[in-house]
């Protein structure tokens, strides 16, 4: 999934992960698709509640691990057998058991660092447009569990979306528009 750029949207806060989970199921079953939950820590069961598929990162890791194995084997066999074969105590040039440690290390190196980079990039690309972190304090890195619906959603409309989020039981529902600054609409509706 890729999304057009925007930083407009509506956000509302929950104070407990359970409330966010309940709300997530409702949003998943609603007409909105460009929604997200911003939380200080990952909530168990949220993927299912938001209707997300499991991450595809493990496939990337497997591919990278295999690339690491092939790289190591190709490098050592080329060097030790093709480019500069040397006689070390009469041992065979392609002494595969002594190639195992480096093969293992390169497998781990490729898979670990590659997966981390891909996950960070995927976390930026594979997500709905986010509220701009330097302008909008969501509290989602502290103690708020924030529901966010981006203005890029085809069904997005200022007032009805605000009302929808209020209907989920969220507090401090705000319409966020970078161009107009932050507009708090309605304040708290407990």
């Amino acid at each position: 999934m890729s999304f057009p750029k925007s930083s407009k949207g509506v956000l509302g806060c929950f104070f407990e992960p359970e409330d966010a989970l309940r709300a997530a199921r409702k949003v998943r079953d609603s007409k909105y698709t460009h929604f997200d939950f911003l939380t200080p820590f990952p909530i168990h069961g949220m993927e299912e509640a938001m209707g997300q598929k499991a991450s595809w990162i493990p496939w990337v890791s497997a591919g990278l691990a295999f690339t690491g194995i092939l790289t190591a084997q190709a490098m050592m066999n080329y060097i030790m057998v093709v480019d500069w074969p040397m006689n070390f105590g009469g041992k065979p040039h392609a002494a595969w058991p002594s190639f195992i440690p480096i093969t293992f290390e390169l497998m781990v190196l490729f898979a670990a660092i590659g997966s981390a980079i891909v996950a960070i990039v995927a976390g930026k690309r594979d997500t709905v447009p986010q509220p701009p972190p330097l302008l909008i304090k969501t509290g989602a890195t502290v103690d708020r569990f924030v529901v966010w619906i981006s203005a890029t959603d085809p069904k997005f409309a200022d007032e009805p979306t605000v009302d929808f989020i209020k209907s989920l039981g969220a507090k401090e529902v705000r319409l966020v528009d970078e161009r107009a600054g932050v507009a708090a609409t309605g304040g708290d509706h407990a």
């Binding site: 992960p17 359970e18 997200d36 939950f37 911003l38 939380t39 200080p40 909530i43 949220m46 993927e47 938001m50 997300q52 991450s55 990162i57 493990p58 890791s61 691990a65 060097i79 030790m80 480019d83 500069w84 070390f88 041992k91 002494a95 002594s98 190639f99 440690p101 480096i102 293992f104 290390e105 781990v108 190196l109 898979a111 670990a112 660092i113 997966s115 981390a116 996950a119 960070i120 995927a122 976390g123 930026k124 594979d126 997500t127 709905v128 509220p131 972190p133 330097l134 304090k137 969501t138 509290g139 989602a140 890195t141 502290v142 103690d143 507090k171 401090e172 304040g187 708290d188 407990a190």
Partner: protein, 491 residues
């Protein structure tokens, strides 16, 4: 689900209320039996917001006096390292004690010692993560930082041991105009290059990925626009999006799954440096597990040393509780016994193999001219940890602190015993000799501690020392939840 009123998170205020065992509530179980509840990881009835305040606050103000004193001391030692290394490069290897027949001296001892220290960090962050040990959340960040800095210290020693350290890049295979003259992949030393560099890079990645959400927390607390901007860039604009958490959690699990065999492989390969040689005392199949377990043993001792200081200086006693320290003391007891078992196995095999050289080297190890170092090693590593059979001592801060330092001394001497006693008397009595450490051997060792503590003090100054996003995940949300906002209160 416990209700607010009966949650232990709300009622356990400090260490004095922790017992180290589950809390039993008679007749409270679902079928009328007893219910056992684990004690909370965080005491003091903390809220999510308090976690940020307690952990970040000291990085947001001018450092306290004690930090400056410690930093000054560490920088001085780092200066000692610098001066010693410059002398070493200028004059040559002659200023340290290595000579024939002990050609591997303190440099290799220190290298193995520091790499071993690092292993506890990866064990805590990766292995305990896979085993879902929730208590790791309080200590994994600083233990991983310890790993990185220990690997940085370890990395110095093989390079200065080269004799011509300015050619250190020759260790890596790269196309060159010297033949091409490639490195020999049959050598355990070339495996070491790959193992140590992979370990350093993967530990750094794992640590940094774990830091991302916390860097965003620091950003959101920041008031100065530059500070906000810097931490935003460092966290790659993390917002806490659950669509990002999905990939993040997957990658974190994958990293843990790769770091776990990695940590075992690294010390295995370090032990291959010894075990693939034909020296009596080194040529043993027990070396890989023996080295790995010794590494975990010494690393946990270092973690205890650092945590005992950190929790009191930064007042983190609600997060790094006595229960955490006791859990680490149990790991020390267990690994200490395994290390003792390895020592005994070495002796048994020396006798049982019937090899007279093997038998001689072990008699010489314990009763020869270096018997004193074997005595220090055995006392510190096998006898001292036995006090942790007693719960009273596992939960006593002074005992933990002293025992942890003794274990580290013992583990340094373990490597000293392995390196020096095997080399100083080999097959031919005509080539026997003794090994004397010079002033520079000691100053480089002391200086490596200076590098370690300088890096660690900078870490505690600029970054959150506890993984806040992970600690929040093991708290009771009913207690930790945000209280009403000012607007809510007004309404």
């Amino acid at each position: 689900m416990t209700t607010h009123s009966e949650s232990l998170y709300a009622t356990v205020m400090d260490d004095s209320q922790l017992t180290g065992g589950p809390v039993v509530r008679e007749g409270a179980g679902p079928y009328g039996g007893d219910e056992e509840i684990a004690e909370p990881m965080v005491t003091g009835g903390k809220k999510y917001r308090d976690v940020d305040q307690d952990i970040c606050a000291h990085t947001e103000q001018f450092p306290m006096r004690r930090w400056w004193i410690a930093f000054g001391f560490a920088l001085t030692l780092l200066g000692v390292l610098g001066v010693s290394l410059i002398s070493l490069f200028y004059v040559g290897e002659g200023i340290v004690g290595i000579n024939s027949p002990v050609n591997w001296g303190t440099f290799i001892v220190n290298f193995v010692f520091w790499i071993g220290i690092g292993h506890a960090g990866t064990l805590i962050s990766a292995v305990l993560f896979l085993f879902r040990q929730k208590w790791r959340t309080a200590i994994n960040r600083s233990a991983e930082a310890m790993t990185l800095f220990a690997v940085a210290c370890a990395g110095i020693f093989p390079i200065i041991h080269l004799g011509r350290p300015w050619f250190a890049y020759w260790l890596f295979p790269y196309p060159n105009d010297r033949g091409p003259l490639w490195i020999n992949f049959n050598s355990a030393l070339s495996w070491d290059i790959f193992a140590i560099s992979t370990y350093g890079l993967v530990s750094l990645t794992f640590w940094y990925v774990g830091l991302l959400p916390d860097l965003a927390t620091v950003r959101d607390r920041a008031t100065h626009p530059w500070r906000k901007w810097i931490y935003n860039a460092l966290s790659f604009g993390w917002t806490g999006s659950h669509r990002a958490w999905r990939h993040y959690e997957s990658a974190y699990l994958i990293l843990a799954a790769f770091a776990t065999p990695l940590v075992f492989s690294v010390h295995t390969i370090v032990s291959f440096d010894f075990a693939t040689s034909i020296m009596p005392g080194w040529h043993a199949t027990i070396f890989p597990p023996y080295f790995v377990i010794g590494a975990i043993f010494s690393g946990f001792a270092m973690v205890i040393t650092l945590m005992v200081i950190m929790r009191s200086v930064f007042n983190l006693k609600h997060y790094i509780t006595l229960n955490h320290l006791e859990a680490m003391a149990k790991v020390i007891l267990f690994t200490g016994m395994l290390v003792g078992f390895a020592y005994s196995t070495e002796f048994f095999m020396a006798w049982y193999s019937g090899s007279e050289y093997e038998g001689f080297i072990f008699k010489n190890r314990a009763f020869g001219p270096y018997g004193w170092s074997y005595f220090i090693m055995f006392t510190c590593n096998v006898i001292v940890p036995q006090i942790f059979w007693f719960k009273r001592f596992r939960r006593s801060i002074p005992v933990l602190f002293v025992a942890a330092i003794l274990v580290n001394v013992g583990m340094w001497f373990e490597r000293y015993v392995i390196v020096v006693t095997s080399l100083h008397r080999d097959f031919l009595p005509s080539s026997w000799g003794m090994y004397d450490m010079t002033f520079f051997d000691w100053s480089i060792l002391a200086g490596s501690f200076g590098l370690f503590f300088t890096l660690f003090l900078l870490f505690v100054r600029f970054l959150p020392v506890i993984a806040m996003s992970e600690v929040k995940g093991v708290m009771d949300p009913k207690v930790a939840r945000s209280t009403a906002t000012p607007e809510e209160k007004a309404a």
